[in-house]
């Protein structure tokens, strides 16, 4: 710790407050292993931040200010003007540049002695060998799919013979004045997939409402987005970040709204509906990122007991006063990632296979967009490769019981290219 960071600053002086707390035991960490002479866990830990957006910017700052020295960050996004109200490492002149690169450079310039390695790519571009090098993984993501992918990867990596293969996963999320922090010790405590039902997908508006009886401004916008765009194809493909494309949808929606006398279609609502924009502010990101990094500090240094083995979930709500709910989420035996049992699945035996497959997209416990399906004996439908897709396609219009011969309590396995490590097992219950 007394190493000079190369700028004439005495490192022991600089980290005086942090180290004083770390080296003084308190009433709640009496059993901690804290030694004056051994290797410093903050110097030894390599930590990975996933996402360099609202939460990620805060996390990089916090980890650097918590004494972590070797940090990696992955983000494939570039900086947009709407990020500047909260992603405080970015300036107007950074718009269009890589988030991971700009954020890393900023924090390294401000906090001397920290090394941050940016990766301007997708998390799926790396394999287990890459993720193995870290001691802690901390996520500030807005995508459920990315969370599920990294969760499955970290759970799958655990080797009972090798304690180093277990990487604590800290996950943050925000929406408006609300947010949550979760700590997962993969295979030991409940994982992200165990908690998938927290992200129940919104029920979609029926197509016939959009097509024939719109009542809300959102119905007009979805009509423009789903129906009018497809019919008129004004641009080769829809880019939701292109103002010209959004303006086209806005005008279409507005015309339709006027036709039906429906008020309330605005540019802002059009953009929000089409992009599914979630409100985001600096203060909520500060709370959740701060909480995530506090847990990382506690896990790395034992300065206090962390979330994880008992309480593992903290939800925050600032809409009405200040409210936290910190509790123990339970592990699920039928979790597709860390459990072993099949989940019960209620289906109508008169459904076609196509109807069953489509239901997986909105099923809170599955949320799969490109499902392939098989029983223990035979393949019912495969999305890939094309030859197999073609052979199995006729099954799509067959009814589950009478056409395909599926029976009550039959076990089926569903896979999806978004989660190559996973097979979702279900037991059919006929309704």
């Amino acid at each position: 710790m007394a190493v000079d960071a190369g700028v004439g600053i005495n490192e022991a002086n600089r980290w005086r407050y942090l180290n004083h707390i770390r080296k003084t035991k308190g009433p709640f960490n009496e059993d901690a292993e804290i030694s004056e002479d051994g290797p410093d866990p903050l110097q030894q830990s390599k930590i990975l931040v996933i996402g360099a957006g609202g939460l990620g910017c805060e996390m990089l700052k916090n980890l650097a200010m918590s004494g972590f020295k070797d940090i990696h960050v992955i983000d494939m996004d570039t900086i947009d003007i709407s990020n500047l109200n909260r992603q405080f490492l970015f300036r107007q002149h950074d718009v269009g540049k890589s988030k991971a690169e700009v954020a890393s450079a900023f924090v390294m310039k401000r906090v001397k002695g920290v090394k941050i390695t940016p990766h301007n790519c997708k998390i799926q571009d790396f394999d287990e060998d890459f993720y193995k090098q870290f001691q802690i993984v901390i996520c500030g993501l807005d995508s459920i799919e990315a969370r599920r992918w990294i969760n499955a990867t970290l759970v799958n990596m655990v080797d009972d013979e090798d304690p180093d293969s277990l990487k604590p996963l800290i996950d943050g999320g925000t929406e408006g004045f609300k947010g949550q922090t979760r700590v997962v010790f993969p295979t030991i405590t409940p994982c992200i997939e165990c908690q998938l039902d927290l992200y129940a997908p919104r029920a979609a508006v029926p197509l016939c409402t959009l097509a024939t009886i719109p009542r809300q401004p959102e119905h007009c916008i979805e009509w423009a987005h789903i129906i009018a765009w497809d019919q008129e194809k004004p641009f080769p493909s829809l880019d939701k970040d292109d103002p010209e494309h959004i303006t086209w949808l806005y005008e279409k929606a507005l015309n339709r709204a006027q036709e039906f006398n429906i008020p309330g279609v605005t540019y802002s609502l059009t953009q929000g509906t089409v992009k599914n924009i979630i409100p985001a502010i600096a203060s909520t990101n500060a709370i959740i990122a701060g909480s995530c990094c506090l847990e990382a500090l506690k896990i790395a240094t034992q300065a206090a007991p962390s979330l994880g083995f008992n309480d593992n979930f903290m939800s925050y709500d600032g809409t009405e006063g200040v409210y936290t709910n910190t509790f123990k989420y339970e592990k699920k035996d039928d979790c597709a990632v860390c459990g072993s049992l099949a989940k019960p699945l209620k289906v109508d035996p008169n459904w076609t296979l196509r109807e069953l497959l489509e239901s997986f997209a909105t099923n809170a416990a599955a949320q799969l967009k490109k499902p392939s399906i098989r029983t223990e004996e035979k393949t019912l439908y495969m999305q890939f490769p094309p030859s197999l897709e073609e052979t199995t396609r006729p099954n799509l219009d067959k009814k589950l019981r009478d056409g395909l011969g599926l029976v009550e309590k039959q076990e089926i396995a569903v896979t999806d290219p978004a989660f190559p490590l996973l097979s979702f097992k279900f037991i059919l219950r006929f309704s």
């Binding site: 507005l254 540019y267 709370i287």
Partner: protein, 530 residues
């Protein structure tokens, strides 16, 4: 749910401005009105100690675009500052901390003005700064603070009705406390959308009754399409009418009656149609519990109605004039002004839009009546119709923060928390965080207090409390930090305080009443009125 505008002029087709683009994600929370309030705010931070939590709070206010901030802090940047405060770097060593932080915070948002004191390395004259600066909208100060500075700030707060926020952070612990100048009403509280649905099914007005009757006069002979597209409001009004005829005019508002009524509605759905059921009837059944109810006042609104105006400022405020006019409306009609919004429901577009306009027309009529009452009242001559409209729309959810001026006896609160803990312990619920407040606030003027000094100060305020095992542990934990901040914890608190400041400035959502205690070890907080 949407506002209905009867005469629809097509909006000019232009995209958002650069500023709207930058603030898009927050405008979706507090709209242009909230943003305007932030942009006219002038905030003072009196900083001290290890000095991080106040700066982290300001960061979260500069980013969304507060108008102006001022930092008062006489500390000179030293090496330990660089290990805890992100808005300093090695070029700041030996310079005034207030100046360096102001400069690096301003970089975050060119639209925000920053100022700092002292201007040179000299003692700070807080009184002089307060008298020579433009009036502050809100003042934050961090602990430890000199007792004479605290007295100066409190005097300013009383004189100018300025909200004060005190923030204390050490190691894993923190609390912040908000002192509002008197009762603080909020109209735009943003309740959950489903809570705000008010269909008046048990108290319909003539236009609504007539509309429902016209649609249902031949309900049995309607074709499947028409029957399947009756809005659920109409379905429920029809079957409620039949129910009242059979029950001496009583509505099914009690649990047992509701269950039976729900079954009546469910049984009335057609099942011999191609779909084998009717979505609109399903919606009607689902709405019974929520929407078939006797009108009742939310306790929070009752508190507004019962509030006794205590000072000159309240007597002059348009809020209280309108509140009084709404109360008169409620006394007269046995119901609040209708909010006027209609949730989405299965219906033909035309029918839905018509129904929407019936609700909206009634809401407008109620607003006019309240406006007329308000204007006839002393002080209400110039009341703004838009303010009346907003009040009527949100009436059920209007909230008074800091409603009472009860003496706050710390010993009594402590005893009550102890009593609660006995119950909480028995059922495995989290225990009170008040010990953290007691231990931390014992170091308000002496950050590096020892365990014994903390215990002595706690005992001075609440005799015997320092012998409590949990208070002792909290004292040990506070002493462990020796007045030092952990950056992560100050980042969390900086976010929490910024949220509260935003709510107070925008008068939207509901600010805490009045103290938040945060435990970074168990990762939870508690709100207490202290």
């Amino acid at each position: 749910m949407t506002e209905i505008v009867m005469t629809q002029t097509p909006p000019i087709l232009h995209g958002p401005s650069e500023k709207e683009k930058k603030y898009d994600r927050q405008l979706r929370l507090w709209a242009a009105s909230g943003q305007a309030a932030l942009e006219s705010a002038n905030i003072l931070l009196v900083n001290s100690g290890t000095g991080t939590v106040g700066i982290e709070t300001l960061k979260n206010l500069v980013l969304p675009g507060i108008g102006r901030f001022t930092i008062v802090d006489d500390a000179v940047v030293d090496e330990p500052d660089l290990g805890v405060n992100f808005f300093l770097d090695e070029s700041c060593l030996g310079k005034l901390r207030s100046q360096c932080c102001t400069q690096l915070l301003q970089e975050l948002n060119p639209e925000v003005k920053g100022d700092c004191y002292p201007k040179s390395k000299a003692a700070v004259d807080l009184n002089n700064i307060l008298t020579t600066s433009p009036t502050f909208t809100l003042i934050m100060y961090t602990m430890p603070i000199k007792p004479e500075d605290l007295a100066t700030l409190e005097a300013y707060g009383r004189q100018h009705c300025t909200p004060l926020v005190s923030i204390h952070t050490a190691g894993f612990y923190s609390y912040f406390r908000i002192s509002l100048p008197g009762a603080f009403p909020i109209v735009d509280t943003h309740p959950d959308a489903e809570k705000t649905v008010d269909l008046r099914l048990t108290q319909p007005w003539p236009e609504l009754v007539q509309f429902a009757e016209e649609m249902t006069q031949d309900i049995e002979s309607l074709d499947d399409h028409a029957h399947g597209h009756l809005p659920y409001v109409v379905i429920l009004l029809y079957y409620l009418g039949k129910w009242r005829d059979a029950h001496n005019g009583a509505n099914p508002t009690e649990y047992k009656a509701k269950v039976e009524f729900r079954k009546t509605v469910a049984d009335a759905a057609r099942t011999d149609n191609p779909e084998g059921g009717e979505e609109n009837f399903q919606e009607a059944v689902a709405a019974v519990n929520r929407s078939v109810k006797a009108q009742s006042l939310e306790p929070t609104l009752r508190e507004v109605f019962d509030h006794e105006l205590s000072n000159e400022a309240e007597l002059r405020s348009s809020f209280w004039v309108i509140a009084n006019a709404v109360k008169k409306f409620h006394d007269k009609h046995g119901a609040l002004p209708l909010p006027g919004s209609l949730p989405d429901m299965k219906a033909e577009s035309k029918v839905y839009v018509k129904l929407q306009s019936i609700y909206k027309a009634k809401a407008r009529k109620d607003v006019s009546e309240v406006l007329e009452t308000a204007r006839a009242m002393a002080g209400g001559e110039d009341v703004d119709p838009a303010e009346v409209e907003m009040f009527c729309k949100n009436a059920s959810f209007v909230k008074l923060v800091n409603a009472t001026t009860d003496g706050r006896d710390l010993s009594k609160i402590y005893d009550s928390e102890k009593a609660n803990d006995e119950l909480a312990e028995a059922v495995g619920m989290p225990l009170s965080l008040m010990p953290i407040y007691l231990a931390l606030s014992a170091t308000s003027h002496n950050a590096a207090a020892t365990i014994d000094e903390i215990k002595a100060e706690v005992s001075r305020r609440i005799p015997g409390a320092a012998d409590d095992m949990r208070v002792l542990q909290a004292a040990q934990e506070v002493a462990r930090a020796a007045g030092g901040e952990l950056h992560d914890l100050s980042a969390v608190i900086g976010g929490m305080v910024a949220q509260e400041v935003i709510k107070i400035i925008t008068k939207q959502y509901i600010p805490i009443d009045n103290t938040c205690i945060f435990d970074g070890i168990s990762s939870r907080c508690q709100a207490l009125r202290l």
